[in-house]
Symmetry: C2
Subunit: 603 residues, 2 copies
């Protein structure tokens, strides 16, 4: 963590620069040119100026005020990171907390200037900020990157070689994908698709990059015409393999930096489809001056969410191997706790090392979260070697982890009992288990969206006046980003797009939690595959099948908080865990697994 004195100095110099440039309100996001959720270090401008490491940050700075918006996952950590720095935390989604737009609407004065870097603001947000500024008589300058001069040791743009995936891994060739994408473009009446979204581009071209930690994507753009494909990539990222691959598929390669001139000179012959949620304000305006824009979810986003049979087969295989490792980790941790010194970080390192031994392992899919007791109340706590907690033989260790394999992207959270628990800890753990299992074994008619399904998971918590302020589930990529749209399981539908219905082949997390600030945090996350269930006289029903097979810690279960049917679900799940994992373990560990998955009864 950057010390608060440094942040205060940076804020001072930022304000001087704002004065010099005539900027009254300066807005900084945590995003890159591609609307990415996670970004390369080069783009961590909001972290540089605020010290806040959250992935979803908006800063608005004036001479008098400095505000930082982030979401519920980061309220606790952000509050700690920005204490005494001069920033005020704005808790997104909380009642009576204005959004960044509402705040601007209140603050901007006639004749003032709102500045931001139009490459790191999405077109959707940019449009909103411009509307507000116009309404208040203010001017927008969207070409202001004050970090350029103030961030001396700014890291370089990420630039790593791109690899090509074999069709035995992707299950579908580039031509077939382009055909399906173009059919959807035509449905929208579009002649072009402008892709900024990095994982969409990787999926479409059957390639993977290494520009963002844990996210196998390459900084790039693609312009898909009805017969042409232009691909913009940094020169240092090409390999001979890639050049051959692109030539075969008639994809024209350009320098990443040439995009802007290329588009300005391009003769468009019809409307351009793009997704304003992940296209930069800058790119939107360049294109909007040239041709009619059709704003919709990228067809690639929808297509990539439904995994094909080859992908699903690899995913099931990879999740099983990943589950075996997590089971082994839990077994080892429970065996060693109290007998040797284990810290949050050493535990995480041990798990990371175990995963790295799986032959198809490529990378982690995100930094392993290993959070002991109160630390786990911060939903995205990241321990550091220097400051992390030493585990004691009591309470909970929450471990949220996953990896990239040549065959899938994993994500799993288990809250592991290290020793004594209070009755309240058991109650909360049990409620989270019920929440997780009811969603995992939900049956629902086709057409249901994540808002319908969210209630399966929340109901057992709401009953006790408990809730958690993050989504219940997110889509997951295939050897791609661990967070992937368009589907999600959450209480509120997306504000700007209709939520998609679930369809078989979608891979989604199921991760309810309970967080007691200053005490402990519990989350149980399994990954699900949406599958066909049945056709009855009432319609076509779908269900989820688990991909994750890791015991839910029986040491923290209090059956007093479970319905008979919840107990059955837990026993069913554990029976499946034993059947799946047992073939891969032996000896004492097998005995442990048997005990950890034994059927339980109502006390």
């Amino acid at each position: 963590m950057v010390d608060h004195e440094t942040i205060r100095k940076r804020l001072l110099s930022l304000r001087s620069a704002m004065k010099a440039e005539g900027i009254d309100e300066y807005l900084i996001t945590s995003s890159d040119d591609h609307g990415s959720e996670y970004v390369g270090d080069y783009y961590k401008v909001s972290e540089f100026f605020s010290g806040c490491t959250s992935d979803n940050v908006t800063l608005i700075i004036s001479q008098d005020e400095a505000r930082l918006w982030t979401d519920g996952r980061y309220f606790i950590s952000a509050q700690r990171e920005i204490e005494d720095t001069g920033y005020d935390l704005m808790k997104m989604g909380e009642k009576d907390v204005p959004t960044a737009g509402q705040y601007l609407e209140e603050m901007l004065q006639d004749g003032q200037v709102l500045g931001f870097d139009g490459r790191c603001v999405t077109a959707r947000d940019g449009m909103n900020y411009r509307r507000i500024a116009r309404f208040k008589g203010a001017r927008v300058d969207s070409s202001v990157d004050l970090a350029r001069d103030l961030w001396m040791d700014r890291p370089p743009m990420p630039c790593h070689p791109v690899r090509v995936l074999d069709e035995s891994i992707t299950g579908e060739g580039v031509e077939d994908k382009l055909t399906r994408v173009r059919a959807l473009m035509k449905q929208h009446g579009a002649s072009y698709l402008m892709l900024s979204k990095l994982d969409d581009i990787m999926w479409l071209f059957n390639i993977r990059g290494g520009d963002i930690t844990c996210n196998p994507v390459a900084m790039s753009y693609a312009l898909i015409g009805l017969t042409t494909v232009d691909f913009f990539l940094q020169p240092g990222e090409e390999t001979q393999e890639l050049r051959d691959h692109l030539r075969v598929h008639k994809i024209k390669l350009h320098d990443y930096d040439d995009l802007w001139d290329y588009l300005r000179d391009y003769h468009f012959e019809g409307p351009i489809l793009l997704d304003r949620m992940c296209t930069s304000d800058e790119l939107f305006h360049v294109l909007n001056e040239k041709e009619k824009i059709i704003d919709a979810v990228n067809p690639t986003t929808d297509l990539k969410a439904v995994k094909n049979p080859v992908e699903l087969s690899h995913i099931r295989d990879v999740y099983l191997q990943d589950s075996v490792v997590v089971c082994h980790f839990i077994y080892e941790l429970k065996k060693r706790i109290g007998k040797e010194t284990i810290t949050e970080v050493s535990a995480a390192n041990a798990l990371d090392a175990m995963r790295a031994e799986i032959p198809s392992y490529l990378d982690l899919s995100f930094g392993t979260i290993s959070a002991y007791n109160a630390n786990a109340a911060m939903a995205h706590y990241a321990p550091t070697e220097d400051s992390c907690a030493t585990l004691q033989p009591s309470g909970f260790l929450l471990v949220d982890s996953g990896a990239q394999y040549m065959g899938g992207t994993t994500d799993v959270t288990r809250t592991i009992v290290l020793g004594d628990l209070t009755p309240a800890m058991k109650r909360d753990f049990t409620l989270v288990a019920c929440s997780n299992l009811r969603l995992l074994y939900a049956r629902f008619p086709e057409g249901c969206t994540g808002v319908n399904l969210d209630t399966f998971a929340r109901e057992p918590l709401w009953k006790y006046g408990i809730d958690f302020n993050h989504g219940t589930g997110h889509g997951i990529g295939y050897i791609l980003n661990v967070h992937e749209g368009p589907q999600g399981i959450r209480t509120k539908a997306g504000k700007f797009r209709r939520d998609p219905a679930f369809v078989p082949g979608m891979i989604t997390s199921d991760e309810p939690g309970i967080y007691r600030e200053g005490e402990y945090g519990i989350r149980t996350e399994s990954i699900t595959e949406c599958v066909e269930d049945s056709v009855t006289e009432f319609g076509h029903f779908l269900a989820f099948a688990p991909l994750t097979y890791v015991p839910i810690d029986l040491d923290a279960i209090d059956t007093g908080y479970m319905e008979e049917s919840d107990i059955k679900l837990l026993n069913d799940y554990h029976k499946a865990v034993y059947e799946k994992i047992a073939p891969y373990v032996e000896g004492e560990e097998l005995s442990w697994l048997k005990e950890a998955t034994k059927p339980i009864r109502k006390m």
Copy 2:
């Protein structure tokens, strides 16, 4: 039911008239000028031409085809009504069934003419049809009312005197309502509010009419300025009481028919707020030519949904009296069945007569649905004296009924056991009871919409691959329409508006069902009041409190399909029913009530 031969003849004459007028596709709705759900007989043009009595119908007729769209509540009845008439049923919301708009998009040819009566099509639908016509090179003629010449014995426009409600009934004066409405108008940046929605107008002016059966509304319009109020009403509807009331509140009264000239001449001084979902295409176009239109839910719709303490107090009182009557009806029915001849209609008449004896009774709130066994599989079955079923001492009688009282509008459904049941009937009845009770006793955080809550009710059915194709709950008016927005409990959010969050004071039905075509139909409907529940460290929680206190028939309960917690909910509910109703009954009926509400245990 009009005979099919007559309908075929009317369709023939309609097609001749279309030819004469040069109309290629003619669209007829079941609506009136005000977007009302239920309409006066004058407006039943779709029923005249198709014989279909559903409340939600769109007809599209060409020389070759005649299509009828209606929703899931009416699939079974509509199919029967239009058999052999030349109409094809289009089941709204079913997969692969095009909407009316999609159908037009497919059928309309370049140069053709789409005709409809722009007063009976909402502005929202009109805009869609116009867009489609333009896209297909067709022309729209929105001034075509072919019923005018073809419907010889068309009933006159409804015209009944308007009554004024005392503030002891409404709990809020007209001035205070206008102040709150104008505050919301200003929030929207509007200088005017154009109200077409009849129940909104009644609520705002504290008046009630009698122009639509069971819906105490008067055909009217209101134009609310920031300092002025114009009210358009048929001359025959005024009374001295009304004239005095309007004068006191500075509401200027006009002739209903003068609206159009008045608006054309009016000098608007700012934007006009209106709700395109319940403003006619015709009115929208008149206003759109004069001033900027702001399309949003009427502020009156939102305000009226949240009942004030005076209204709530009357509502609770009226629901108790109504529940006492329904309990008495069930007691009498169960006592007499098998001993005397009872038909669907005679049962309904008996119940209606009992309600009419309550001193504050005004009218029914809808035609009582009394449906025996297979008839109940038609969600909105209406028995007739001639064709109705005679009840036997076996199976189910579904009774859905309610009334208007000076103190509230009621609605309740119970499915009553008349004798032997199959195990499948008991299973379905029990699942519907669980569904009803889980929603009735739901606890949920503020911010939840009806889509979040819908899953409480559906989950117990989905588990068995069962579903029902109507909403789970609708808002209910106060001495007003039994169906009232904006809130609802349903699987899909409204397509064109964001669903509102539930807030204390909203009155909403809870009415899951299971319908087995040709066998039986089950629905259990209680009305709920949204109430404060608790504030915890996780937020502000709300709940429902029952307004309906009528036993759920224990003769059809199979505890094998219930969780322990479901049994507890049923026992809790029945305990409350007994405590509320017992003071009003005595003797044998009291013994029956005690037995009907006795606690049950898992078998």
